[in-house]
């Protein structure tokens, strides 16, 4: 079951480099977050730690419902065409992403982090998610897609804490969820303004400030 969830996480993230429409990326984020919630819930049931179940519930509420809703609304209202724009072609970017997976596997193997009993199997996946999230931010040109890369990184970090320590203390966990929600709102506000000023969400147009 664990490896099925892990595989689902990786495949869905890889699809970020294959899609053509931005709204698909939002769907991927929602799906990915649902899998994260599932992983946390499985760990919660196996260990009997209630705060893991709470974290799973919050993940569903915040990351699979609220944040994708905010992002989807923003995309619908700003960009009618919704086309993604990448620095390299889809095949090249998929290839680079696969290479990053290998690198992530290598790094995870050499970190020698102490995994928990039921979380160990996610450690490699979580490092790969952080790598792929960073790559999404570099590879994609649209502002919203950079935000999606950020969320993938956050998801990876969430999975790291789950796998090495069954999550952070509850207060901190709540704070991080609150931060994520606020950042989605700020990203939406700024995207609206960027779109109305530049008539596009392409960040390549924002290269005026130098020196």
């Amino acid at each position: 079951m664990d490896s099925l969830v892990a595989a689902g996480l990786l495949v869905s993230t890889l699809l970020l480099f294959k899609i053509k429409k931005m709204s698909d990326a939002v769907g991927i984020i929602a799906f990915q977050s649902a899998l994260l919630a599932l992983a946390a819930a499985i760990m919660g049931i196996k260990t009997g730690l209630t705060h893991l179940l709470l974290a799973a519930g919050l993940t569903v509420a915040v990351k699979t419902l609220m944040i994708p809703a905010i992002l989807y609304y923003t995309i619908r209202k700003t960009d009618a065409r919704q086309a993604v724009e990448r620095t390299s072609s889809p095949h090249v970017s998929l290839l680079l992403a696969t290479l990053l997976l290998v690198a992530g596997y290598y790094v995870a193997a050499h970190l020698e982090l102490p995994g928990t009993e039921h979380g160990q199997s996610y450690l490699t996946t979580s490092i790969m998610l952080i790598f792929l999230g960073t790559f999404t931010m570099i590879e994609h040109k649209k502002a919203i897609m950079q935000a999606i890369g950020l969320i993938v990184i956050e998801n990876g970090l969430f999975l790291v804490t789950q796998s090495v320590s069954y999550g952070m203390p509850l207060v901190v966990e709540l704070g991080i969820f609150f931060d994520l929600l606020v950042s989605a709102a700020v990203i939406a506000v700024l995207s609206f303004r960027i779109h109305s000023t530049f008539d596009s969400l392409n960040t390549d147009k924002m290269q005026n400030l130098k020196g």
Binding site: A143, L157, S165, V172, G175, T197, M206
Partner: protein, 490 residues
């Protein structure tokens, strides 16, 4: 506990009420009173801490020691001064129809929320909550950077948001490593992210993970603090934000990010037996060096001041890295001095740019003739910030220099002094050209308005007085703050 609740409630309510109030007149007075109350509350907490014991409350969620109180007080002080200055500045923007009443309310509301997030960072015990606070400062202030809404402001805000968030994501990874090492030593169910707990066992933590964690945190929070080479967002954000916000960003937001670095450093340097200080020295010196060419070829006044902030964050980091009682004392004295001198500089520069309708330095000349009071204070602040005697920055830079020689690193110290001299030359070249000479015909003579004068007087007094003598209360505070980083609190 009551005072901590007040410290959170006052800025929150002030922001809320300022955002909801219908009359502009009401809104600006209310927010000034709110900022004063915040300052009084912060002052009360700070004095309680400095004259007695660290304050803990709510089952160890809140913990304020001398270092926290120092940062807290500085935030409230600069926040108060900036809120007074905002009144005059924003009235001008309103009169010129650059902004409308709605944006004004938005500005004051988010100004106080921004102050609140920084206050939160300095009052929490858990490193996790400290992270949450620093991330919130980015989110709230990004909206303030984007305030003017034109293309450049949006570009700066977006860059700031993305760079800040990615940097801080790395810091979270670092905090996870620290948490792991804490749990290994303290046990599974313990509050292993609390600074007070971690600092007790710092000597026996797993050195490998603490080292990894510290490097991630230094890079992550260092991005926020504008340390080179992660400083790229900083000149953009500082130059595009409204000037009172630039002053708060430069004067205390950067300090707050450094505060996060130093909290972890206090643990890591014990665990790593002094090895962690090398990283601070390297990043500090690099931040100073990288600003030299950018200041020399600068065209934009506010960008030049922003690069100067990168330099000064480098000096503070270097001072802490050199360490010892003298180095730490000098570094925190420098933190205080820089906050005062830089806010003074951003306030006067803001008025100058408003009046000349340009941030381009070649379009600004003869400030002394057109705006005598503002021009004189601007010149004084610029002389102070570049470290010339007899002003406050000179004293703290000399202290750090002496600490450098004392610690047996003459070449490092020589490089430090040489960089300061280079930056002095670079900045003075432009400042002298702007302050003296003939003013362009299009610019009319102008006198200082009451609100701006009131705002300038406090930092001006401190810049001048602290150049001659360090007030006893500041002196004893700085000893206690250095004590926190030397492990005297244990």
């Amino acid at each position: 506990m009551a005072s901590i609740i007040a410290l959170y409630a006052i800025p929150f309510l002030t922001g809320l009420l300022a955002g909801l109030s219908k009359k502009t007149q009401w809104c600006e007075k209310l927010q000034a009173v709110g900022a004063l109350l915040t300052l009084l509350t912060a002052g009360h907490i700070a004095v309680t801490v400095w004259t007695g014991q660290p304050v803990t409350a709510a089952n160890d969620v809140f913990y304020i020691d001398a270092l926290g109180a120092f940062n807290l007080f500085l935030i409230a002080l600069v926040g108060f001064i900036a809120s007074i200055y905002s009144v005059g500045y924003m009235r001008h923007e309103l009169a010129e129809q650059i902004i409308g009443p709605r944006q004004l309310r938005f500005y004051y509301a988010f100004f106080h929320f921004f102050i609140l997030t920084m206050l939160m960072v300095s009052t929490v015990n858990s490193l996790g909550l400290l992270w949450v606070g620093i991330e919130l400062t980015t989110l709230v202030s990004a909206l303030l950077v984007a305030f003017y809404g034109q293309s450049n402001a949006l570009e700066a805000a977006w860059k700031y948001l993305i760079m800040g968030s990615v940097g801080i994501a790395f810091a979270l990874l670092g905090i996870i490593f620290i948490y792991l090492s804490g749990m290994q030593t303290l046990g599974q169910q313990s509050p292993a992210l609390n600074w007070t707990e971690l600092t007790q066992v710092a000597a026996v933590l797993n050195a490998e993970w603490v080292k990894l964690g510290f490097i991630f945190i230094l890079v992550g929070f260092g991005t926020k603090a504008g340390l080179a080479p992660m400083h790229f967002w900083l000149p953009d954000a500082h130059s595009q934000a409204p000037s009172p916000i630039s002053a708060v960003l430069s004067g205390v937001l950067l300090n707050t990010a450094l505060y996060g670095v130093f909290r972890v450093y206090a643990i890591a340097n014990v665990t790593l037996a002094g090895q962690a200080s090398h990283y601070l020295v390297i990043f500090g010196l690099l931040s100073m060096a990288i600003t030299v060419p950018f200041i020399m070829v600068q065209h934009d006044l506010k960008r030049m001041l922003a690069y100067s902030s990168v330099e000064h964050m480098g000096i503070i980091t270097l001072g802490v890295g050199i360490g010892g009682p003298l180095g730490l004392y000098g570094a925190f004295l420098h933190m205080f001095n820089h906050s005062m001198a830089k806010s003074l500089l951003f306030f006067t520069a803001g008025s100058i740019c408003q009046h000349y309708r340009s941030k381009q330095m070649h379009r600004i000349s003869g400030i002394l003739k057109v705006m005598p009071a503002t021009g004189a204070i601007f010149l004084l602040a610029a002389v102070a910030i570049t470290g010339a005697p007899p002003f406050n920055i000179f004293l703290s830079e000399i202290t750090i220099m002496m600490a450098g020689f004392q610690s047996g690193r003459p070449w490092l110290t020589v490089a430090f002094v040489a960089l300061i001299v280079l930056i002095f030359a670079g900045m003075m070249f432009y400042v002298v050209k702007m302050v003296f000479g003939e003013a362009p015909a299009r610019v009319e003579k102008m006198t200082l308005d009451g609100w701006s004068a009131a705002a300038l007087i406090i930092p001006l007094a401190l810049v001048v007085v602290c150049g001659w003598v360090i007030p006893p209360i500041l002196d004893s505070t700085l000893y206690q703050v250095s004590g926190v980083l030397q492990g005297a609190g244990r």
